[in-house]
Symmetry: C2
Subunit: 207 residues, 2 copies
Amino acid sequence: MPKIVDHDQRRVELVGATWRIIAERGLDGATMRDIAAEAGFANGALKPYFPTKDQLLDFAFEHIVAQTNARMAAATEGRTGLDALRAYCHEILPLDDERLSEARVAIAFWQKALRDPSKAAVHARSMEQWREALGGLLGAAGFRGAEAHDGARPAPAAGLDAAVGAIMNLVLGAQITATLSPAQHGPDALVAQLDCLLDGLLSGADA
Amino acid sequence: MPKIVDHDQRRVELVGATWRIIAERGLDGATMRDIAAEAGFANGALKPYFPTKDQLLDFAFEHIVAQTNARMAAATEGRTGLDALRAYCHEILPLDDERLSEARVAIAFWQKALRDPSKAAVHARSMEQWREALGGLLGAAGFRGAEAHDGARPAPAAGLDAAVGAIMNLVLGAQITATLSPAQHGPDALVAQLDCLLDGLLSGADA
């Protein structure tokens, strides 16, 4: 009987074995042959699943989003309020080698997505999930928006959308600062930077 | 008498004429010949000044930082406090087509800088200038750090470094969100997102 191969499953396995090599070597720095060799596969093993490096990059990006989502689910399990919101964001922040490698894949993907509408759509879809989750977590943490702020100063447009957008900017920006300016953006610094925003958003929140 | 050519000046002029083409076409999407042709130069005109596309990208990045710095100086002239801080940050946020083009060059540069220490050093040097300026502007806007926050909640590590790092993450992240998720990150949205952070940092500030 011929062996039954689940091609989707095989694709996921291959991406799981190769995404770190893309992160380390960069897209320009490695051929498909190099990537296969470093991951311990025969030359040509990747080709049937990813005809081009570009397709391998697409799957690598979706893979790192999926593994971030899995970590978020585990990290927020049993947590509530600000605690859950922070735990969720920490899985995006590049706080360890694994997440720094994810950041490198994301930056390579963004650069390609600037001129590739299908990649931009993949990015937008993933970010939309995070935005929705962040909106829910902010609400659950007691975010009340503009009216929570000091009335003596001009009212900030701190609606929920603005708050969610601010968090997205900050956690995506951290992918750049942590990889390119690590001295100012080590793990403790990144967490403190995030807290600057979250504490401000939730000052005056229903505790 | 032979014409005297100021080569540094000529290089600056060439970058000024070509950086937008890099932003629009991308590094992979255009040859040096294409870039020269689109900018209205003879084939080969760029080569003596930028032997490779990679060097043209280095100069393009330094050019957009220099033009951002010039805008910052003009925008903050005569402003003080939070007003000056906001005006400074707005010149980094991709609020118009010019700044969106700058964002595209920055993203291309970051991707290369991940594996090129000399590019990473250029990036770090530019960002260090901004961090220093932001620290001064935050202080002048009355930033008082952790003690400004509500004592009933765990004290955030909102020292000046954390506040500056948070702003850097947010404004750099905006380069990605505004180019790749424009629906949620138009100009008004980006300004409101920035205000979420600045208002939180300066709540309780010496007004």
